[in-house]
Symmetry: none
Subunit: 351 residues, 2 copies
Amino acid sequence: MIVDDRKLKILAAVVDEYVRTGEPVGSKAISKLEHINVSAATIRNDMAALEQMGYLEQPHTSAGRVPTFMGYRLYIDELMTHPELPDEEKHRLDEMLGGEDTPEELLIQNAAAALTELTQCAAVVTNSVPRFSVISKVEVIPTGKRLYVILLITSNGSIKNKACRLEFDLNHEQLEFFTHYIEENLNGVSVDELSEEMFDKMVAAVSAYMISLSPLVKGISELSEEMRQQELTVTGSEKLLSCEDLDKMEVVKFIEHKDELSGFLEDAFSGIQVKFGSENGSFAIGNSSLIVSKYRKGGKEAGSLGVIGPMRVDYKKIIPYVEYLTQKISYLMSDDDDIINGSPGSTGGQP
Amino acid sequence: MIVDDRKLKILAAVVDEYVRTGEPVGSKAISKLEHINVSAATIRNDMAALEQMGYLEQPHTSAGRVPTFMGYRLYIDELMTHPELPDEEKHRLDEMLGGEDTPEELLIQNAAAALTELTQCAAVVTNSVPRFSVISKVEVIPTGKRLYVILLITSNGSIKNKACRLEFDLNHEQLEFFTHYIEENLNGVSVDELSEEMFDKMVAAVSAYMISLSPLVKGISELSEEMRQQELTVTGSEKLLSCEDLDKMEVVKFIEHKDELSGFLEDAFSGIQVKFGSENGSFAIGNSSLIVSKYRKGGKEAGSLGVIGPMRVDYKKIIPYVEYLTQKISYLMSDDDDIINGSPGSTGGQP
DNA sequence: TTTAGCACTCAAAGATGTAGAGTGCTAAAC
DNA sequence: GTTTAGCACTCTACATCTTTGAGTGCTAAA
């Protein structure tokens, strides 16, 4: 079976029409399109061929054709025309994102809100994980009887704290020793490098000096674990429920277990990706489609952003949105970066 | 129209049956109940009267009757029998909550988990707001060029932090002055007492010394605002999605905007409360019912805990659960109180 | 005041019929 | 060889009709 140009053109036309109308499309409808110059009968023959090759299918004998997910795949990867977003749309998105001084968190939230509104689908975003930022400061502050607060600050400005109860109170000298030890071992280490073993070694080292210090190390370890954690947010999931193409039960299950998506997003390659619900296990809304891209921060991949909708979704419209937002956010974040980085080495002015 | 005892008895029976079966209940079904000794025809007359008074309604002419929300209201407030929870159930709940040394946070979480499991509805809890705890420590830590982290700790152990950028770097003396000033003005002040004016006065005071300190005061003000904020957690919301009586779209919207409930919970009176989704604007899942109660800490109302389910829910079962958990948590928290309070005055061991 | 009986109503579910869209196949035209 | 027109065929969606059963309201008797 030869896949000639005309067949591909017809496949593309079927996808476009189906996306537009939501109804199975027949040979007649295609033949009426401006850019198609063959009769309905010819199209019928080609459609039968495309069906045999697995790109189209018929819901029932006397219905038009619907793209299979192989058909969509071919369309997206090879056939789709990919227009640049017009300037006015870009400005609109810029406004929705917020200006240069918008905090990172809000930037991501705004992107999600914009995607939900513009695409009428659910948006999925992950926050920027500070993978390549380094520990810039660790403080241990006494706050009460045997009660201490650990404070962890990284070069990208994220701050975490945790209360910690020890078995004995530390005297000035012990606290000094511990702070000094931690500073030497952790300052400048990237969040991603921090490993279980590293902390085990540290526990061993400080225990030799004083056993009751080890809860502090454990606390720091937990904090760094928290920092590495990426949070996944899905907004506008109600749009999926009002979508006829999707099984409500599956949507509900997905909403309940959206965290499972997170591993999948991390594994993805860079650049824009389109995955169908049926193509993998963990993200299993049948008939659904996930369009994501990774944004960067300071040149490194930091998080993902995209859209979940029915497979029958306007890829021509959505892909440019996701692409532009990714670029813009990457740009805005890299811009911020050096302002926040400050002078991470400084442990500055304690009285 | 007279509302005699028999009519009330019949209303109660209709609610009970409807809660049990989920189907509109007819006169025949009621007449078969053990404690009802009149014929179906009599019941029909009474039901017609109850319908006219607005307590019952018919989905269509030849169907049985369903309680209106006025009917539920009357049932809950006046008719329902209210059994004491049997001891074995109490013990079961006690175990699910955890022992006396369970931290407050966990206590609340466990209560939510218990409610979800026992009622097969969503549970809603708010954390114990540190309204009456006092500021025990404020620190300002330099972390980079013109970059400072403010740390706020209260007597009940909650910790908040915030990054803050100044226009100039502070020298040792300025930082000392500021820390000292804040300590004098805020230590021992209860979180609830902190007011806008108080901070305005402080800004004025420190500005006289150095204008660039005011962002720090503003930061502290924002942190204290955050502290006063109550966090609302909804667990088991998936139960609502698998509930036929509720509109899935509304449920999903509620899950995404659950924060809106928080204001509503704060306004509630003490004691157990039952509110229907249709009875107020901000909590708008049609046909839903919210059963909440406030727990106390040290004699003062500290937070809420309860259940969200369909209006057709087993009030006889759920209300005792919520009531008992509220009492138990109030008891456990008042017990804990002095352990956690520690030594709030101490600003301890800075080198 | 309560009850039995009966005619009435209505929704849900099944049966039947029709219209229309779309197909595959064949034979003729290019 | 490829494309097209024509035609019989298939199947769904929709509308209409019928049946069934649960439940009611009303009336007259207990």
